[in-house]
Amino acid sequence: MPDTLSKLSPPCSNADCPTTEQLQRLLRGDSSGSEDESLVELVGRCQICQQRLEELATGGDSLFPELVRHIDDAKPAEDSAYWEIFPQISSSTTRTATYEPDILADHARGVLSLDFLEPIAKPGRIGRLGSFEVTRVLGRGGMGVVLEGFDPDLQRDVALKILDPQLANDPTMRQRFCREARAAAAVSHDNLVAVYQVDEDQKSGLPFLVMQLVNGESLEQRLRRVGRLTPLETARIGMQAAAGLASAHACGLIHRDIKPGNILIEAGTEKVKLTDFGLARATVDMKLTRTGFVAGTPLYMSPEQARGEEIDHRADLFSLGSVLYEALAGTPAFDGKTPLAVLRRVADDPPVPLHRVNPDVPPWLEEIIETLLAKNPADRYQSAAEVADILASHLHPLAAHNRSADHCPGFLNPFRMTRRRIQACWKKLLVLSLTFLLGSISGSLLTVWLLPKTPNSKLAIADPGPEPIAILPARSGAIWSVALSQDGSTMVMGIENGRISVWDVPGRRLKFDLHPATNDQAPAHKGPVWALDFTPDGKQLISASDDGTIKIWDLPSGRQRKSIPVGTPVRTAAISPSGAWVAIGDRFGEVSVFDLAQERILLQYQQESTVNGVSFCPDNLTVASVSTDGTVVLWEIAGKRKRFTLTGHGGPVYGLSFSPDSRELATSSWDKTVILWDVDTGTLKKQFKAHDEGVLAVQYSPDGTLLATAGQDGVARIWDSESTELLATFRRHQGTIFAARFDKFGDLLATGGQDGTVRIWDVGPLDRASRAAANLR
């Protein structure tokens, strides 16, 4: 330990005092008894020795004694809320667990071989079941095995669900399975997996279901993948699941086993489909009698099921509530170490309030879920249709506004309402009427959440302003990025779910979606498409996504030319005026400039938080980026030298645009303002309030005379870039606008946002007026 020794205080001058070696032996406690005692005594007398001993003990780490001092207050105070939460989080396993009792799991693993399949010679098929060719195993569950098959007669892919052979041996079980399956086959709804037929395999005698094959994933898989869902996504899934339940309930069918694994989400369309209707009864009852033990998944069971009582359709509503709770919380509403503990909690305990687990959950959604989770069925919503309606009214508040009174449970008969329901009802009406008052721009869910924060909005009964010349609906989620081709005839939109759609603007029709080279069905990206940009020649398009790739596409063919893995979630991208370089910014604040031909990094630098926008100066010498950290930075590309860090915005900066003459840079921010900077000197030339909420996008028109801005208030505005006089306001979007782009001639402006539409606005007349004004000056 020479290092440690060199840090020690000098030995004391007293010749009697122990040597360093003796002190070390003393520490280890391996000196002889008598020597020990005399040394101890010496230490007791000599301060220097005491100090040296402590230094040896701490290895020269002078901070350690400081750390130990008053360590007793390292724990939270005795009356702290910490001690209420600590046992919950420490003992209850917070990880989502499905309780398949071991007997069941073994059973499913061991007994369910695929012996019942007949051999088949065709390549790509693993066997034959009845007239169906089986292609692969989709999954195994407590009740049997699910196979993917092909129906050669109808030439379509199907899912085949085969009843567990052990259960199939029981005649009552078989009868039940077939009866329930036939009942399910009688119901047809967009949100239910269609049951085509119930069949029996001739050879093995096993009954099986032929069902619609849903290409996608179950909610269970999705939750495992992403942890938890956004309130918007949860409400949407809840609404569709409730709609599916409503149609089944109308036919007298109760699901009995609503759980994340039975809620399928179709890839691409995100459509929700419920499966395994009524089958739970066939299996669960059986297992109950056989083992005297509750099998399956008690996590989502209703209290009346947990108590083994008779149930009606309202049990499904409770289960739906449990599922929605878990989707938002990331953990089951009722969790426990054993199935029995879960059942007890289902029956007796209220779940931890949602907002405590996930503060992003809006109060109205929490209330809906709370009502679904009422222990007494009479306190829940009384029908799935009602739940679907209420969720829909929140998802599309304006559309539902006129009908809202009818949607309030028992609104015409208040005596039958519980107090909480009345409150919920009034709150909802209040929100709806507020939404309506605040006028044409609200509408989206996002705006509803933000409502309380904008009490001063003066947009109340404002003139809605000009109409767009085209509305192009993505129909699959918020639009994060738009790009217009040079002549404005082609519009490309980047959508939240990874889709990129190419539209014909004059025809107002979808031309096609872009697909990866490897899969002509899948969306272009696996995550939100944050940025789109045409190359200067208009022949290629670059897209950047949260999935960590940037892709280059040939247009008009739509062929994927290149996929460049970046490795981090790309938040923004731009192509250089020469078309040779691309700049990207990621969520971790890193900005990189790539040479596309050489696939080489030219420049890389770091901002302190998410980079929301990058842009090349038209002179091709400078790149600029803006970040959530509130700064705007400019770098000289060739010299790899930072030119400026511009601070002037009072919050995250979202948008930026260089003037075509390379002399000004416009930036837009959460602070509601736009700043015009002098690119040469880095000075703030002008700052003006552009919107009533955060400004997400700003862009110069190609001739530099106009500035377009758009933002969280759902409004797009056109400004004279010189005088910053407001020239026009476009108000038709229902929710935040994320992107705004001019076409090459500055005649058209495309805006896209939260409401899932791109709107094309005619700014030609304004442009000319502004130019005329400029000439006069």
Binding site: G29, V40, E41, L42, V43, G44, R45, Q50, L53, E54, L56, A57, D61, L63, F64, L67, V68, R69, H70, I71, A74, P76, A77, S80, A81, Y82, I85, F86, I89, S90, T93, T94, R95, R224, V226, G227, R228, G330, T331, P359, D360, K453, E496, G527, P528, W530, D546, P569, R571, F588, E590, Q606, E608, S609, T628, P652, W670, G694, L696, F738
Partner: protein
């Protein structure tokens, strides 16, 4: 001084493998007070700090099994710091408007699941962490020593009283008090280093 290598299986690896309830409990015992203490230092009230602690740990529970941990991006502790810091930031900024990157809610979990090498954990966080490691080490070490030795250590090192006073109370010479204190400190450091190796990688 080195402990057998098998005790050095990292806590993260055990968390990731799942099914190891003890790993989770150890993890919570160590980090719950770190997160809580740090949140308090950043100005959160008791109940908010406790809620935040719960939220961070649930986020770990959800992500642990599929955490593609890349040591090049920083330590596990650094990752946890980033998650905590972000949540505190969200909490504090959520009290006013909530400035943040748009779309962040959507991808927050993903963001949370990646350590951020660009931001080294700050001094307060480190201190909370070291204190909790020391507190845990004390639990482990305590039974290895005679009760009086422990009291001598506690009286002087933790409570900051003089060796004479403590010695008189316990019937020990001041020298014996110093030696007991130093022996325990030396042992504590060993255990702290081992715990750090286990929890950090």
């Amino acid at each position: 001084m080195a402990d057998p290598p098998k005790t050095r299986v990292s806590l993260l690896a055990r968390l990731k493998s799942g099914g190891d309830d003890r790993a989770w409990e150890e993890f919570v015992e160590l980090y719950a007070p770190v997160i809580y203490g740090f949140a308090r230092k950043r100005g959160l009230q008791d109940a908010d700090a406790a809620d935040l602690m719960q939220e961070v740990l649930r986020s770990v529970a959800r992500n642990a099994s599929r955490m593609d941990y890349d040591p090049r991006r920083g330590t596990f502790r650094g990752w946890l710091y980033t998650v905590t810091r972000n949540k505190i930031y969200n909490f504090l900024s959520g009290q006013k408007h909530r400035p943040r990157a748009f779309g962040d809610t959507n991808a927050q979990e993903r963001l949370d699941a990646l350590p951020d090498a660009s931001i080294p954990p700050d001094a307060d966080w480190e201190r909370e962490y070291q204190r909790q490691l020391s507190a845990q080490a004390m639990e482990i070490v305590r039974n290895e020593f005679h009760a009086n030795s422990w009291k001598a250590f506690w009286g002087t090192a933790v409570e900051g009283r003089s060796a004479n006073d403590v010695g008189q109370e316990l019937g020990m010479s001041p020298g014996a008090v110093y030696v007991a204190k130093s022996r325990i400190i030396a042992r504590l450091r060993e255990v702290v280093q081992r715990l750090r190796a286990e929890t950090d990688e």
